[in-house]
């Protein structure tokens, strides 16, 4: 019985492959539509990934600069730095003494001679606090800022986060656009597969009637159509992967050239195992689901005629 069941699955699968192969043009057009629908969300996902890669992961690089009052001694600053390191959500703390800051300023600012004219060092001791990536949200940064500003020794606390927050907001927006596109195009794939299966059911009406007459269950009747839908989805997903892979190959060299001009060694990333896996899974699930919905809707009305 199990051998027979497995044999029928194999027959249904091979039968579906055979039917698709016997109508190459119609199959190719359907697969092309599904492939394009799946390729667009994949392309958007790759764009987001590449945008993050291109910016060197600075989305989490928020720095908080703490400027101390001039009279505060470096020893007290070191002590407060120690306290800050112990706080949850803080990844790194760097102490820059007023002497170090002055030396650096002399070296890089080009005002070395002018600075020598000053009687005393005008720069304060500074702490650079880097929050942990998971504690870089707006609320976390506010809390950290309040904590640091509450010290009486502190003159000013500056959070260098606005541009990062804007960039994160753009990425978040892109992710949402990606989600909406994926849902809409997924619904499109369902409709394409569903309509194709509906036409196939109509074309095989006599066969379905005979199968029901000789005792074929609903599952038995439905099975070849589910395989066909799944094959459409899988082929469409492979096409989507191929289209994106080709696009990345074509764009990789000019993007690398452009990056070099900006002093970067960045290269365009293609679909990785995660993206490929998700695309194939989405294709298979959407193909199967589209076929199942069409079969459930259109097979119900087909009963053998006497």
């Amino acid at each position: 019985m199990i051998a027979g069941y497995l044999t029928h699955h194999a027959q249904a699968l091979l039968g579906s492959i055979g039917r698709l192969a016997r109508a190459p043009l119609a199959t190719a057009l359907t697969v092309l539509v599904i492939g394009l629908a799946l390729a667009l969300p994949l392309a958007l996902a790759l764009f987001v990934t590449n945008a993050m890669n291109a910016t060197g992961g600075f989305t989490g690089a928020v720095d908080v600069s703490v400027y101390f009052k001039p009279e505060i001694a470096i020893a007290r600053v070191q002590q407060l730095a120690q306290n800050t390191r112990a706080r949850a959500g803080v990844a790194a703390v760097q102490v820059i003494s007023s002497a170090e800051a002055l030396m650096e300023f002399r070296q890089y600012s080009g005002f070395g001679t002018a600075l020598q004219a000053l009687g005393s060092n005008p720069l304060p001791n500074v702490l650079h606090v880097r929050p942990a990536p998971q504690a870089s949200g707006s609320a976390d940064l506010d809390a950290l800022k309040h904590y640091l500003a509450a010290w009486p020794e502190v003159d000013v606390v500056q959070v260098d986060s606005e541009w990062v927050l804007r960039f994160n907001a753009i990425l978040d927006l892109l992710r949402r656009v990606l989600g909406i596109a994926a849902i809409l195009l997924g619904a499109g794939v369902l409709a394409v597969v569903g309509n194709t299966i509906r036409l196939e059911i109509q074309g095989r009406r006599t066969e379905i009637e005979v199968i029901r007459l000789v005792g074929g269950s609903s599952g038995f009747v439905r099975r070849p159509f589910l395989y066909t839908g799944t094959l459409y989805g899988l082929a469409g997903a492979v096409l989507a992967w191929a289209l994106n892979g080709i696009a990345v190959l074509v764009l990789r060299a000019p993007v690398a050239t452009l990056a070099q001009l900006y002093g970067s060694r960045y290269t365009l990333a293609g679909p990785g195992p995660r993206e490929i896996g998700l695309t194939l899974a989405a294709g298979v699930v959407l193909g199967w689901l589209g076929a199942w919905l069409a079969a459930a809707r259109h097979l119900r009305g087909i009963e053998p005629r006497a």
Partner: protein
């Protein structure tokens, strides 16, 4: 055993095809259903095959009350039947072997068992050696015999045939009926709906006569009144 008890079937268009029909058919019996066109013969077979449900009354087939059968149980029930139509309902794009094997595929038979049974069924109907041919490469009589082989390949307990000789010449019609008789001889209940009284006379089996949806009577040979309807 098949038992019809006061079975009425009214179609959606209001036509009453069967009116309080009551009769029984023993297990392993061969019975002819006769009557003029529209008498209700096909409706009886449709009700047995559950292609239609009765409007009133009860039908019991091999101890199973069809009125209580749920839709999920329908495939298993239909696998106990063999059905032969006047139009053979063969799948033209598949060879004879695949057409005959269909009930076994549906039942989940193993390939080796399927091969053995299909060849045995084709042998019974005299078509062994033609299993690779397509239906439209066969004569009408051969196509009918492929339909019969498909109906009996899964060893049904009940074989129903609706005008199985309608498209056949008298010689072929008698051959087909002899096949049915052979199935009855091995214990299959055979019900043949036909208006071909020549065939009915030839085989001398019990005959249930229908007229305008009502059972006129049952006899070991056609009732005299039916002779006039031929």
């Amino acid at each position: 055993m098949i038992l019809f008890e006061r079975v009425t079937k009214r179609y959606r268009n209001g036509r009453e095809a069967l009116r309080a029909a009551t009769f029984s058919i023993d297990r392993g019996e061969m019975v002819f259903l006769t009557g003029r066109s529209g008498a209700g013969k096909s409706t009886v077979l449709k009700l047995i095959a559950l292609l239609e449900r009765p409007t009133r009354g009860s039908i019991v087939v091999n101890g199973q009350n069809l009125g209580t059968l749920k839709s999920g149980q329908l495939p298993a029930y239909r696998r106990t039947l063999g059905v032969v139509f006047q139009e053979h309902r063969l799948l033209d794009d598949r060879p004879v072997f695949d057409n005959v094997a269909l009930p076994l595929v549906v039942a989940g038979s193993a390939p080796a068992e399927m091969d053995k049974r299909v060849r045995a069924a084709l042998d019974q109907v005299g078509l062994l050696g033609k299993e690779r041919m397509l239906p439209n490469e066969l004569s009408v009589g051969e196509q009918q015999r492929v339909g019969i082989a498909r109906a009996v390949v899964a060893k049904p307990s009940v074989l129903i045939a609706d005008e199985p000789t309608g498209n056949l010449d008298p010689g072929l019609a008698l051959e087909v009926m002899k096949l049915f008789k052979r199935f009855q001889d091995v214990g299959v209940t055979v019900i043949v709906a036909t208006h071909d009284l020549h065939v009915v006379h030839e085989f001398g089996q019990r005959t249930i006569v229908l007229d305008d949806g009502q059972v006129l009577g049952s006899a070991d040979a056609p009732l005299p009144s039916m002779t006039a309807t031929r």
